[in-house]
Symmetry: C2
Subunit: 304 residues, 2 copies
């Protein structure tokens, strides 16, 4: 999954190619979906619910549909008007919970303000909660496992596994403590036997914390906040940030939370932005749909 180090005089971090890794994962999923279809006459089904007309959400939902069908899974989209009530969304979720052809349910966030995201997330059958946001899945993540794991931290772990054979005993720093990335990432690193530190906006001396980290996961949403001289030589850096910044001449570009060019001569391996963590997220959504289908339909635990 990685490029060979270049032979320049200056040291260069291995660039972790999330795009290629995600592509390989999607191929594995496609192969497995085809096998299951031949064996059982059914493919796993993912339902995506979009409420309203948010342009970014429309793009995300469309891309999810394309990726789902490309892997040979069944994609179902439900669109509700921006004026939909919470009861409308809950009724749709109840229908999808009861539908045996649907293995995964994803309600695209954000929701219009008259609808409580918490109420909607908690209404989804945890066995179909492919976002992994239901409290039952969060609870399983922090106890004995066996639930569905949020897609972005799951993708980060798969990228890590590609460059680090053993994680046990390594010092991992997660910068950011969101329920979607930072906290579940900490749970996964802890389950992998890392010593895990979670830092955030109230943390003191973040550079010193970072310098101790064999694995540094940045998920704060502040462009290039983490500087090259904060990074421990040889560390593996996973950059979850996706920040759009002014690139001059009326253009913009995407950058991560880590100052990439500064980090490359110091880190042992690093994910670029774009092309690092991002592509893994949809692939892991498909992975979760497969895993959910395997469990729900009695096909067993799928190895993906």
């Amino acid at each position: 999954m990685t490029e060979a180090p270049t032979k320049e005089a200056t040291r260069q971090a291995t660039r972790i190619d999330g795009k290629a890794e995600a592509e390989r994962l999607r191929l594995r999923i496609g192969g497995e979906a085809a096998r299951l279809l031949a064996l059982h006459g059914a493919a796993p089904g993912l339902a995506v619910v979009l409420v309203g007309e948010d342009p970014a959400s429309q793009v995300y939902v469309r891309n999810k549909g394309i990726a789902t069908r490309a892997a040979g899974l069944v994609s179902v989209e439900h669109r509700l008007p921006v004026s939909a009530s919470q009861a409308d969304v809950l009724a749709l979720v109840a229908t999808l919970n009861a539908d045996p052809a649907i293995d995964g349910i994803l309600v695209q966030l954000p929701l219009p303000q008259q609808i409580s995201a918490k109420a909607v997330i908690e209404a989804i059958d945890p066995a179909k909660d492919v976002d992994g946001f239901h409290p039952v899945n969060t609870g399983r993540l922090w106890t004995d496992g066996g639930g569905l794991v949020p897609c972005t931290p799951q993708g980060c772990m798969l990228l890590l596994a590609g460059v680090r054979e053993r994680l046990a005993g390594l010092n991992a720093l997660v910068v950011g403590r969101s329920s979607i990335v930072g906290k579940p990432m900490a749970a996964l690193l802890l389950a992998a036997d890392c010593t895990v530190t979670v830092a955030h906006s109230r943390s003191r001396d973040l550079p010193a914390l970072a310098r101790q980290a064999d694995i540094l996961v940045a998920a704060v949403g502040r462009p290039a906040m983490i500087r090259g001289d904060w990074i421990r030589p040889g560390a593996t850096v996973i950059d979850v940030g996706v920040n759009r910044i002014d690139a001059g001449q009326g253009k913009t570009r995407l950058v991560g939370d880590v100052a990439y060019d500064e980090a490359v001569p110091v880190a042992g391996a690093i994910t670029p932005v774009p092309g690092g963590v991002g592509p893994m997220t949809i692939a892991c959504l498909l992975r979760n749909t497969m895993i959910a289908a395997g469990r729900r339909r009695g096909w067993g635990e799928l190895d993906l």
Copy 2:
């Protein structure tokens, strides 16, 4: 809740008196229970289920009953034979879930081997799960709160609050990653804006990690494992360990995970063992029962 520092030439940590703090909490609970009884004609009810004849469990259950009644709450005990089936226990839990007079359900662990603790815990109504072990409560702890918090880490936080006015930005180290203490403790410290590190048996250079901690929580179950010279001067040390060791001449005594005598000249404040965290646990069980009753019965959030 603390004794004044002594005036000896050597520095002495404040001894955090968990027994006195627990006593004060139980008095507050008693006062509130009496107020609720006068106002609503009902007191919160706690049901404890004991399966089998384990001597230690019998002592715990008896002590919980005594403490519950002493605070003016309703205590109900259910005893099942060691031969009880999982179905028997689940049927009892279902009855207690449906009983409007019962606000809290605690199934004493460990259970006989024919019974899955996981299955039993997940059968308890999360709103009555006063141990805070149900995945829904774990999930709420790590997301937006509002669930029931496990008793021991809850007690630790109350003791911390007595000696530290502000926790935000402090470096906290939790040694031990159990689902009952270490991990929920990390969640609570993170919610209090600490920078939180979780260390465990696979961690490297634990002494160096400890030396960075403004707050050190030990929950590993190894007698006096954490030595005095591992402790940062002035740190607050919360010792959750309860280990019985040989005291010579055929006697035994209880010690914590921290070498107390070594720690006292270094730490700023420290919980003794016994008399530190231990007494808080039952008091927090009563507190959870009160909180559960307030929510379930529409009495509102109780301030305890």
